[in-house]
Amino acid sequence: MNRRRQSRASYLVFASVVGTLALLPAFNLVPKEWYAPLIFANFFAIFAMSWDLLAGYAGQMNLGHALFIGVAAYTSGLAGTHLEWPPWVTIPLGMGTSVIVGALIGIPAIRLRGPYLALVTLLALIAVYKLVLIYSDVTEGISGMSFTPKNFFPPLGYDVPLERVKLVTYYYSLGLMALIGAGLLVIAHSRWGAIFRAIRDNEAAVEASGLSPAKFKVVAFMVSASAAGLAGAAYVHLPVLAALQPAGLDGVLSLDLSLSIIVASVAGGLGTIIGPLIGAYITKLGQQYLSALPSQVEALHILEGQGWISLLFWILLVLLVLFARKGLLPLLMGDLLCRPVEEIQIHTGRSQQ
């Protein structure tokens, strides 16, 4: 399977996923209570795909991806609430700030690898989280930042019924996911993508090719941060978002979010963009489905509210990683979209002769 065919197959699968999601409301296949989880899943898919470009493609282990999301979300949110700037200004501003932070984190990545780089990304996330708490008079701290309708994007009037708000927001988030996802796919299959993969596989070989690994590592951080930042900055203006939380599972500066992104990406299939996309929907919507199950199935009432269903879900993910460590996508589609990493060992035994 050559790279061009893999590239075409990736675009086809991506278009199918977006098309299916776009048609769901048209055929009334989405129950009312599922709009909010789907909206968050659309954003979560962007977060996972942007992480995959950095970690799966370029091999830069980032444990604090929420940093890019949170910095953009807080920049955009603060500019919207305190300076009263409109979303069409604050969203690009948030994204731009995230790109700068991406470049700043990318610079130590020139020298650091593996666990050391992971630690830097994690500590940077914790540092920014602490800053949000320290300046709680501006950021509203752990209680979260709330918004007024003038900050909402897409722009909706005061008298719009909630169901319509959710539908419009769903298509808005899906459109954003389609746009950013397509952009990430184009980059992944471009020369940048090839250089990112080469850096992941063998940095010395990249340098011997006359290319600067340092420069392209910083580019990978900036591209990943720009995608995550755009989504983070847009996420903060959602009409369905109660408040901008720094902590918790949906907290934009939380370790939980960073880890969820990694779990979704690994479960879907690293280094494929499409794998993390699918992994994001499965983990987000799977959790939602399973958590609602005890209230619907009488035999499961005993599990209600005790966290057992959530535990079961995470055990399922552990089993998936154990038995399909390349992820769900390579398990289902083989090398149609990606090249399994285990196949790319080189045996140079004769040099020992």
Binding site: N2, R3, R191, W192, A194, I195, R197, A198, R200, D201, N202, A204, A205, V206, E207, A208, S209, G210, L211, S212, P213, K215, V219, R339, V341, E343, I344, Q345, I346, H347, T348, G349, R350, S351, Q353
Partner: protein, 242 residues
Amino acid sequence: MSAILETHKISKAFGGLQAVHQLDLKVEQGTIMGLIGPNGAGKTTVFHLIMGTLKPDRGRIHFKGHDITHRKAHQIVELGIARAFQSVQCCPGMTVWENLELCALSNHLFPQLLHDRAHIIHVAERLGLLPELDRLPAMLPYAGLRRLEIARAIATEPELLLLDEPFAGLTPSEADELSQTIQELRAQGMTVVIVDHNVRSVMRLVDRVLVMSFGELIAEGPPEDIIKNPIVQQAYLGNDHP
């Protein structure tokens, strides 16, 4: 004939071990030069110093008049020096074509192919890799991997090619084919420096030989003189001629 590469008293130590000591080396343009010596003589360290993957403790390195002593490895490749490693340094997740294409890219923010695709095909053809272009390196036999390593270096269009143990692990017929390719490259104006333990292959191929022992240059000259040199025989070849 002018020197394309010169080192001026370069030294490199690793802790207490003096790997290279006050080495003066001159590579004439358009020649094939052999750098031989027993294990631990410092030959591969010299390649590392030239390519910028190690920095010398003392001394300077000049390439075409430019001081490259403190340049980064990728900048040195851009200037026109390429190296084929002793251990194959390709990207295992990329096909032979993708590996060669990577070497033909410019180091710009938005990389472009420095030459058209015909150049890559020509390099692949020269190294006998045309039937392997869509294959992953792991699918190649060992000789194919060696050819890919050299093809990657040539794809950068170097003026000076450093080959580190290119004949290691090759059968005599594979080594002969490679020798022929190296001679063709020289015929086209490329300068080649070879480090190899296979003294027979090197001696047949090179115009000049430099012999290193314990980080120092102990002899220099045409291969026929080096073979007869008693210091070389003592230090490297033993009493048996190659």
